[in-house]
Amino acid sequence: MTDTAATDLEDLRRGTDLVKRGFAQMQKGGVIMDVVNPEQARIAEDAGAVAVMALEAVPADIRKRGGVARMADPADVQEIVEEVSIPVMGKARIGHTKEAQILEAVGVDMIDESEVLTPADDAYHIDKRDFTAPFVCGARNLGEALRRIEEGAAMIRTKGEAGTGDVNQAVHHQRTIKGEIRKLEGMSHEEREAYAREIEAPAELVHETAEMGRLPVVNFAAGGIATPADAALMMHHECDGIFVGSGIFGAENPPVMGEAIVEAVNNWDDAEALAEISKNLGKGMKGDANVDLPEEEKLQGRGV
């Protein structure tokens, strides 16, 4: 047996950056699927999802319904937590510390401080460093991403334009973030300092990002991904993994679509495999093209 003298149970530390960011790292190369009930959670797990996002309605339905979108009923979240063995995430409104605490108390493994719900605070995000649970936040550009990381986010996802089934905003946000990082890599120290002021991001994180050549936390794609080809496109743009909202349970055959998106993420750079994966999946979600969307209906401008 091992010498247990050096293994002191008292030395255990929870909720550290390493433990929170490590959880996000375990999701890499995976697909996280939006679900609204335990039956959907079961289908998602069987399709190969790495985690499920428990919410009251998928973004496409939130869009149609209008009104104030809030955290899901904790009883419903708990049922999903009990149904599956994979991690369960939950959405809290931007700046709504209490919704986040409630989700943490129910036992969700990661909290999405999400622009898909109606923001609860028009100036501040949640101070995520106070939590044991890790957070994911949306971003449209490097400044937003680094401000969220400074606040304690362990994962960044593109905002995209949720509930549209149109991938172009997710592509735009990911290209913007990667483009800004490439620009940083060619800058001198003092140029990076000035750039940090310009994009209103902490200088320390700007330097760290420049040195790593990528965001210092895991970077997923989200917002409008509806097909295996969309998921593969976001992996091609160097995302670490994929969130799919309305794209699976808004499709004609969710188990088949879910499984195909999981396989597409693994085979994103193999066009022949993608062709096979994309065949005979039934109708995808109908969606709304972003160009037709009036400015006031766009969710991505929330929480900057």
Binding site: T2, A5, D8, K28, G30, N266
Partner: protein, 210 residues
């Protein structure tokens, strides 16, 4: 000396393992080329293999559907080393205690998934591990980690946490419930790939014979 390593890359923290393998090899003056394995046909070229952390249900599904599973079994049957961490350990075990995981049976252990609780219970702690290059405790990171329940006759327990085994070695296979790829300390990768007398790395044997 030049080695070829593989990281099973269907899902999980692949780059972190690739970096840890490179650090461990560099510390021993070895050159290493690391392949990310997403399809069949790559494993047979690898001297050593790592199965990362991630979600065991997803990894298990994809190693079977992509035809990688039988190649991993042949790799271990040939005595070549494998390091399986967290989800990788669950997939490598002989009893995952979950019908959604189709196990590879490379380690004669039964595991309990999420034995230490959900993410809010995840933790880091210094851990005493047998067989490391020195006696300093290992900075172990447990994320929704499994525990090892039943250990078969040929498997040795290398570390325990709260009286439950969390690291084992059986022949060329080392399995850990924690994530040695998440910290810069590459001693566990060293132990699994370079200091395991029961594992056979042909490229290293050639070097020793010189």
């Amino acid at each position: 000396m030049s080695l070829t390593a593989g990281v099973v890359a269907v899902q999980g923290d692949v780059e972190e393992h690739a970096d840890a393998i490179e650090r461990a090899a560099r510390a021993r003056g070895a050159e290493v080329t690391v392949h990310e394995i997403r399809e069949s046909g790559v494993v047979p070229d690898c001297d050593l293999l790592a199965m990362p952390g991630g979600e065991s249900t997803t990894i298990s599904r994809l190693v079977h559907s992509e035809g990688i599973a039988p190649e991993i079994r042949e790799h271990v049957a040939a005595g070549k080393p494998l390091l399986a961490t967290c989800a990788g350990l669950i997939v490598a075990s002989s009893e995952p205690n979950d019908e959604r995981v189709d196990e590879l049976g490379l380690l004669d252990v039964a595991v309990e998934r999420n034995a230490f609780g959900r993410q809010k219970d995840s933790f880091e702690a210094p851990l005493s591990v047998d067989g490391l290059a020195d006696d300093d405790p290992y900075p172990a990171v447990f994320i929704r980690a499994p525990a090892i329940d039943d250990v078969g006759g040929d498997a040795d327990v290398l570390a325990s946490w709260d009286d439950r085994p969390v690291a084992v070695r059986e022949g060329p296979v080392v399995g850990t419930a924690f994530h040695p790829e998440l910290t810069p300390d590459s001693r566990i990768h060293g132990l699994a790939f370079f200091e395991n007398a029961a594992a056979d790395v042909p490229a290293l044997e050639v070097e020793k014979a010189r």
